[in-house]
Structure formats: structure tokens, C-alpha cells
């Protein structure tokens, strides 16, 4: 009995020593603990071999670890080897959509360093994801919004939104988003815009989409007609000293062959104050 108690006491003491040592070791500050272990990360080829047919699992382990690891960083710090790690994860499992998305998201948290370089790195990870997941419109849409919101770069945002819109199952709202951004940026001609919105209207999935696309198409057609008709109105005013009250005035003056109508065949009006074209947008009635 005494011997058993003695043995138990020794075991308890040894456990105690181990616990105290661990606590003490944890309390000792170490220089630059982050990043050192990353220097020894093997290549994706080696990890694939080591995983013995489970590269997806190896990718999961690295992904889970990276999420915990990078949560130690502050936004103003440089996130060590971030692109390398997420490249490794996505090399192990190229279909891992979350890894591209979250990798890009973690990259964007950084506020330090060259933001242009950071932007390129985010684009690289999204490009890789879009290459490996050519049907994943969600990823391309996420890239669009990230560049729009985080980097305020509407050109690149529109580029990704256009990629998303081209994907087979992409919802109509992405097509609208591309159209609206391009219209706002004047990134294309009015004719391009009309053509785009006509196709978007054809692809509209429900009544709401249809109304939205029709609204955009209506505006694009008005913009085109305004571009053609307003110079005629101005010319008439300078010739006769007053603004025409109706389109018939222009027809009588030989400037027009018939009264112009809008998308729905309704006649435009003429604003007497500014002598400009007035459109009566009533999409919901159509």
C-alpha cells in the first residue's frame, strides 16, 4: 500500500513538474515567434506525396492552421508568407473555393506595406481561383466587390464582375451590376450599352430583373436619343429665337421626318425651360 502511494506521489509530482515547466516556458517571451516555422514548410509536391492520397485533407489542415495563425496579426503588420501559404493550400486542393476567398480577404486586412503590390497579390489569388473554378461566379463576384469596396478600383471590379456575368449560372443581377458600372464609368459607347441591356433583358430571370433591365435599357436609349435630338432643338432655337413647343415644329422646319418616340413607342416631350428632351419613364406599366 505504502509503495503504491509512493508511486502515485512520484507520478503526481512528475506531472506537476511537467505542467509548471510548460507554463513557465509559455511565459518566456521569444523573439519573432511568428514566421519562423513557415520557413520549413515543404513544397506542394512534397506535401501531396506525404498526404498519401489525401491532398484535400492536407489543404484543410493548412487552411485551418492559417486562419488561426493570421488571426495573431494586427492590420498594420506585414502578414508573413501569406500569399505563399494560400498558394500552397490551393495547389494542394485547386478546387478549394473558400481558400481563394478567405486568402484574398486576409490579404485585404493589411494596411501596411505597398498597397499596389497588395492589390496585385489579391488579384493573383482571385485569378488563380477563377482559372481553377471556371464556373464559380460567386468567387468572381466576390473579387469584383472586394476591388470595388476595399481598393476603390472600379476598373478591376468591373473586369471581375464581367467575368462573373459570363459564367453559365451567374444570376441576372451580376449582369446588371456590370452594365451599371460600365454606364457610370462611361466605359463603353451608348450603342454598346443599349446592346448590353437588350441582352440582359432577354436573359432576365424574373419580373423584378426584367423591370430593372428595362429601366437601364430605357435610360440608355434616352441617352442616345438625347445625343441626337438635343442638338436639333438647340439649332432650332438659335435659328428661330424660341424653343419648339412640339416635335411637329422641327418636322415642319425639315430637321426631323417624324416625331421621336421612346422605348415603348411613347412620344418624348420638350422641356420649355432648358429646351431639352423630356422622357416619361413608366416602366411598370409595360
Amino acid at each position: 500500500m505504502k509503495r503504491t502511494i509512493g508511486t502515485l506521489a512520484i507520478v503526481a509530482t512528475l506531472i506537476g513538474v511537467a505542467v509548471v515547466s510548460e507554463v513557465r516556458l509559455g511565459a518566456i517571451p521569444r523573439p519573432d515567434p511568428l514566421g519562423r516555422e513557415l520557413l520549413y514548410l515543404p513544397s506542394p509536391e512534397i506535401l501531396k506525396i506525404l498526404s498519401l492520397g489525401n491532398p484535400g485533407l492536407a489543404a484543410d489542415v493548412l487552411y485551418l492552421w492559417s486562419i488561426q495563425y493570421y488571426s495573431f496579426f494586427e492590420p498594420h503588420e506585414r502578414f508573413l508568407y501569406l500569399e505563399t501559404i494560400f498558394n500552397l493550400i490551393t495547389d494542394l486542393d485547386p478546387l478549394y473555393a473558400d481558400a481563394y476567398r478567405i486568402g484574398a480577404l486576409i490579404m485585404q486586412i493589411q494596411t501596411s506595406g505597398d498597397q499596389e503590390e497588395l492589390k496585385k497579390a489579391v488579384a493573383r489569388i482571385f485569378d488563380k481561383g477563377i482559372r481553377n473554378l471556371p464556373k464559380n461566379w460567386q468567387l468572381a463576384e466576390a473579387a469584383a466587390w472586394d476591388f470595388f469596396i476595399r481598393f476603390k478600383d472600379r476598373k478591376i471590379a468591373t473586369h471581375y464582375a464581367a467575368i462573373a456575368a459570363r459564367m453559365p449560372d451567374a444570376p441576372a443581377r451580376i449582369k446588371r451590376m456590370v452594365g451599371v458600372w460600365r454606364d457610370e464609368d462611361s466605359a463603353w459607347t451608348v450603342e454598346d450599352s443599349i446592346d448590353y441591356w437588350r441582352r440582359a433583358l432577354d436573359d432576365a430571370e424574373d419580373e423584378w430583373d426584367r423591370v430593372m433591365c428595362m429601366g437601364q435599357l430605357y435610360d440608355a436609349i434616352v441617352a442616345r436619343d438625347r445625343h441626337t435630338l438635343e442638338p436639333l432643338l438647340r439649332e432650332f432655337r438659335s435659328r428661330f429665337g424660341f424653343c419648339p413647343r412640339e416635335w411637329d415644329d422641327l418636322i415642319r422646319a425639315g430637321a426631323l421626318s417624324q416625331a421621336p418616340v421612346d422605348l415603348f413607342g411613347d412620344p418624348y416631350g420638350i422641356g420649355s425651360e432648358n429646351c431639352d428632351l423630356v422622357a416619361y419613364k413608366r416602366i411598370k406599366d409595360q
Binding site: 498519401l52 492520397g53 489525401n54 484535400g56 485533407l57 484543410d60 485551418l64 486562419i67 473558400d98
Partner: protein, 255 residues
């Protein structure tokens, strides 16, 4: 055939009584269940992590069972001298060996059924989807394990128990790396070296051929022809290795 069936059933019963089997199955089930815990640490698709861990556990613990069982499959019968009682009856040596193999296959099969069931339920709890493709992955793992069990049987009659286990383990590791061996042939200069490596490649089982886990996890299309040829490939290897095992066991002095 009755004799083979009886030996297989007996091997299965014996293994069921073995605590080590419970340990492995228990570990596998705990791994599958704990995958939910790992899934909670992720950002995004929790289901993917659960499936990856579950399928890897399924494969790893089935492999461990094959490796451990190869240690006791035949040697226990020889050490306990029960093999003489069996062979004294109208039981041919190949029937004994086939019975042992089928018993081992049943053990692995029962283990896989259990783990697959637990995995499907876990995935259902996590994602709300009843992913029956996991059962397909389980069947493919079973094919892989049938090949490995054949090698375990071969090594059980060929060499000492511990060495047999190590050799089975080696087949598992090499089987998963043999695809890289094939890639090596493209890198090497000289037709002779290429030919030698090609022969080695075809003689070793390419266990990666049974790996449909990526397709199952990412819900990708699986070509029917690939499944068909995988079944043929597995059966051919099993038959070949069991014939080799029988050739050795037929002439082996059991005293």
C-alpha cells in the same frame, strides 16, 4: 466452398473478439465525429472539412486494420497449431487461404460500413444534405483495401508477422506514390531505365486509382468507365496476389 465460407466466418468472428479491432474502429468513429469540431474552426464550407477528415480516417484506419491483421492472420493459426486441425479435414490449403482473405475482407468491410454510416450522418448534421456519394467513396476505399488485404495475406504466408505488417504498410505507401514513379519515367534519360521503371510501375498496385475523394468532396462528375476499370483493376490485382500467396502456401512447411 463451404469450407472457405466457414474459415472466413471464423476469421471474422475471431477478429470481432479482438480488442484491437474495437480500438481502431473506435478511433475511426471518434475521428469522424471530431471532424465536426475541426469544421467549427474553419471559415466557409464546414462540410468539406468534415468530408475530408472522415474519408481520410476511413482509409487510414482500414489500412491499419489490414496491416495489423496481416500479423495474426495466418501466424496465429500456425502458432496455436489449429491449422493442423483445419487442414486435417477435407480443406485444401488454397481454401484455407481464401477463407482467411475473405474473413479479413469482411472485417474491413464491416469497419467501412460503420465508418461510412457515421460519416454520412455527421455530414447530414453539419450540412443538412444526405450525401450518398460518400458511400461511393467508401466502396472505392473497400476496393483499395481488398488489394491491400490480398498483399497482407501474401505477406502473412511469405514472411514473419512483424515483417509482413511492415511490408503491407510499404505496399500501401508505395501504392500511393507509384503514380510519381510513372512521372519519373518521363524525366529519366535512356530507354532501358524507362522500361525498368515502367515494369516496376505496372507490377505495383497504383492505389491512387481508387481515390475518388476529390470528386466526392467537390461533387464532381465521375466517369462510369473509370469506375468500371477500377473494379477490374482491383479484381485483377487481388486474384494475382492471392494466386502468388497460394503458390507459396501450397509448399510451405507449417511445422
Amino acid at each position: 466452398m463451404r469450407a472457405t465460407r466457414a474459415i472466413a466466418a471464423n476469421t471474422f468472428r475471431e477478429a470481432i473478439r479482438d480488442r484491437i479491432l474495437y480500438l481502431f474502429v473506435g478511433f475511426a468513429v471518434v475521428m469522424v465525429l471530431s471532424s465536426k469540431l475541426f469544421g467549427m474552426l474553419t471559415v466557409g464550407d464546414e462540410g468539406k472539412i468534415v468530408k475530408d477528415i472522415g474519408l481520410a480516417s476511413m482509409q487510414f484506419f482500414s489500412m491499419l486494420i489490414a496491416v495489423m491483421m496481416s500479423m495474426i492472420l495466418v501466424s496465429r493459426e500456425i502458432d496455436n497449431r489449429t491449422v493442423f486441425n483445419i487442414l486435417a479435414k477435407p480443406v485444401r490449403r488454397w481454401q484455407f487461404l481464401l477463407g482467411k482473405y475473405l474473413g479479413l475482407a469482411m472485417i474491413i468491410g464491416a469497419n467501412l460500413v460503420l465508418i461510412t454510416f457515421v460519416l454520412i450522418i455527421t455530414v447530414f448534421i453539419v450540412t443538412g444534405e444526405l450525401d450518398l456519394m460518400l458511400a461511393f467513396a467508401g466502396i472505392m476505399t473497400m476496393l483499395e483495401m481488398l488489394v491491400l488485404a490480398a498483399f497482407a495475406t501474401l505477406f502473412a504466408v511469405l514472411t514473419r508477422p512483424i515483417l509482413g505488417s511492415l511490408m503491407t504498410l510499404a505496399v500501401y505507401v508505395v501504392g500511393h506514390l507509384s503514380a510519381d514513379l510513372w512521372l519519373l519515367t518521363r524525366q529519366l534519360p535512356g530507354a532501358f531505365t524507362k522500361a525498368v521503371i515502367s515494369v516496376v510501375y505496372y507490377l505495383l498496385p497504383n492505389l491512387e486509382r481508387f481515390n475518388f475523394r476529390t470528386e466526392v468532396v467537390h461533387d464532381l462528375e465521375i466517369p462510369v468507365a473509370a469506375v468500371g476499370w477500377t473494379v477490374v483493376y482491383a479484381m485483377a490485382f487481388v486474384a494475382l496476389v492471392l494466386v502468388l500467396a497460394n503458390l507459396r502456401f501450397r509448399t510451405r512447411d507449417l511445422k
